[in-house]
């Protein structure tokens, strides 16, 4: 236990002081901050468009009432007066409205002024236009309201329990769900790539430089293997905690900002219930651990540090399959997707997305999590066993040749222990 602690401390301290780990942690934050800054600047940089309205008084008043932060409607008695204001750059454009129903209008926008879309103007005029036509047709207010009321369609997703009972799902709209599914896939893929590569590199460096043998002269391969995996997991926990702190800090700092409030109000978080959070967290831990163990196993097969790329390739390929499948999950459930969801390495990437979009039930998700967890326990035990002989196998050609060599050593060891 003491040996595991020493290896854990060494892995954790060495990486937490390294530029490469901080670049893994900070690059998404910096990217996020830059994107947030750009959006914030663009929102702040856009001035209110000034539109001069040349029309009959009711239309002018109607439009003036619709002035907003984006567009301000000003009334002008004549086109000449409006054109003068346009020339003086008091206005960004002039809207000349012909009051004959249905309304027709002409907009003259200054080339270097704030742009106003035709859609904005059409929307602003359409209500006034409808009201004018209704008046001509002598429609009452309630009649007009009735005429304008659109048919209402309510959507609800349903699932069927084991007994065949239909259950209506409540909660978030599909946009939020799809967004959560996509974010989960990207987060998972990003973490496993970073930590898988780090693990393989770490072990490849130790083995390639023969530090490994110095370590194993003092402690067991198993202690070193688990100490390293735990150290890397701790780094990941710190990264997640830092992101949590960054998000919390940003929220506290910007919670009163109108844009941020608007964005937060538009997100329906009702889908993030206990089942979903527990399953997503479980898949995240089990999935990343599985890939880390696989990376450690493959890293222990290299002979030189230059071969580290060979070790990470299978991890990249396998995780890419999982990533693409998780992204495609939003397009609908297929038999292939059902099978892939229960395969270790792939299930932890696919299932959270499918659960997020309501394609599978919590029970199915936990069954898949159970399969992956059971696999992880057996896989970690086997990997630690293989690691003992992998670190003694050196092949300059490729890691598959090293695997064969390792297998020969393991066979010889099994025979020796039976004698």
């Amino acid at each position: 236990m003491n040996a595991i602690r020493i290896v854990f401390n060494q892995v954790f301290r060495k990486n937490i002081k390294s530029v490469s780990w901080w670049s893994i942690v900070l690059s998404p934050l910096i990217m996020g901050a830059i994107m947030f800054g750009i959006v914030y600047y663009m929102n702040g940089a856009v001035k209110t468009a000034q539109v001069g309205v040349v029309a009959e008084a009711p239309i002018q008043q109607g439009l003036a009432r619709q002035s907003s932060a984006a567009t301000k409607y000003r009334t002008y008695p004549s086109q000449a007066a409006a054109e003068k204001a346009l020339k003086d750059e008091t206005l960004d454009g002039i809207l000349v409205v012909n009051a004959k129903t249905p309304y027709t209008a002409r907009y003259l926008g200054r080339q270097d002024g704030q742009s106003v879309s035709a859609k904005t103007l059409t929307t602003a005029l359409s209500g006034l236009n409808t009201a004018a036509i209704a008046q001509e047709l002598h429609l009452t207010g309630p009649q007009l309201t009735k005429l304008l009321t659109a048919p209402k369609v309510t959507t609800r997703e349903v699932t069927f329990s084991q007994s065949g009972r239909m259950q209506t799902k409540s909660g978030a709209g599909s946009d939020t769900r799809n967004a959560v599914a996509t974010i989960l896939s990207i987060l998972f893929y990003g973490f496993l790539l970073s930590y898988g590569t780090m693990t393989a590199q770490e072990i490849a460096t130790e083995k390639g430089s023969r530090i490994e043998e110095m370590i194993l002269a003092a402690i067991s391969a198993r202690s070193q293997f688990f100490g390293k995996i735990l150290g890397i997991m701790a780094l990941m926990v710190v990264q997640v905690a830092l992101y949590g702190a960054a998000i919390g800090g940003t929220y506290l700092f910007a919670r009163n900002n109108a844009t941020v409030r608007g964005v937060l109000q538009s997100i329906d978080l009702s889908m993030l219930d206990g089942t979903f959070i527990a399953a997503a967290l479980g898949f995240f831990i089990v999935g990343i651990l599985s890939y880390t163990v696989l990376s450690a196993l493959l890293g222990s097969l290299v002979a030189t540090q230059e071969q580290a790329g060979q070790a990470t390739m299978p991890v990249l390929m396998l995780s890419l399959i999982g990533y693409l499948a998780s992204i495609m999950a939003v397009n609908g459930s297929t038999p292939l997707m059902n099978v892939l969801s229960y395969i270790p390495f792939l299930g932890p990437m696919i299932m959270p997305s499918r659960l997020a979009i309501g394609q599978v039930s919590g029970g199915e998700a936990f069954l898949s999590l159970g399969v992956s967890t059971a696999f992880l326990i057996v896989f970690a035990w086997l990997s630690a066993k293989m690691y003992e002989t992998n670190v003694l196998a050196y092949s300059d050609s490729n890691i598959w040749h090293a695997l064969r060599q390792s297998w020969d050593i393991a066979r010889s060891e099994r025979r020796a222990s039976h004698d």
Binding site: Q10, K14, T205, S209, R210, I211, I215, L216, A416
Partner: protein, 298 residues
Amino acid sequence: MLALNGLTKTFGAQTAVKELSFNVAPGEIMGLIGQNGAGKTTTFRMILNFLHPDQGAVLWDGRPMAAQDRAFIGYLPEERGLYPKMRVADQIVFFAELHGLKRADALSRLDEWLDRFQVKGKPSDKVKDLSKGNQQKVQLIATLIHMPKLLILDEPFSGLDPVNAGLLEDGIRLLKANGSAIIFSSHDMSNVEEISDHLVMLRNGETVLNGRVSEIRQQFGRTRLYLEDPPLSRDELAGFAGVEKVEMQGSRYKLTLSDPAAGKALFSAVTARGYVTEFSQQPPTLDEIFRMKAGVVQ
């Protein structure tokens, strides 16, 4: 005490080590020699418990090595390497902790060891910023700082200049004086001859030499005769009974004798004609013995 009792290790059809036995007592240095592929690394790996013998046992103080905490071992592998981005102190302390030393104890010993090996660099320097020679010294310190009771050095002298080789020899002698049992392999027989008490030579996994260095040399008889400025010509020397070969080595002759007894006749003949600067009859050097033994299979 380390005891290897009849170790045999095979990989498939290949026998890497066959019935190898030797002991290394505390305060004793043993040289393990042999060509590449002779079985030295496999022997080290069995002592270190990386591999398990098909037959035989590795014992430390009478108990199987496999059943022991291995913190008392120090091992320097043949190919050198460290964590390039770690600081010298962190690196050495990490290995010291792995071998059971407390962090504070390791730090308190650090300066003394850096001085002993004359490392040019500070404890706070990153390893990659040191010269290759100094990196090797740091690795040696990481192997020795916990004063291992059993020290295994695989080709420790390779790549070291004569000054650093001397520092390493001093380090090895320090541990010997401290009662460590030491095994090292080397291709340089002068190092082996100089510091080993005992040596084992392997050839294709089989033990071809095993004993104290002086005894092994004596086994081959005093068949080498060195003469400086002899009053006899090369042809006259070659014509003596029992002289196999005459070679010039700088200003002196080296005679290879088929029978050590021929030395007496040569001594009489040489001294009868007056003064001779050097007349030295010796057993073959370890280097010659190594070549002879390795040559059997060539």
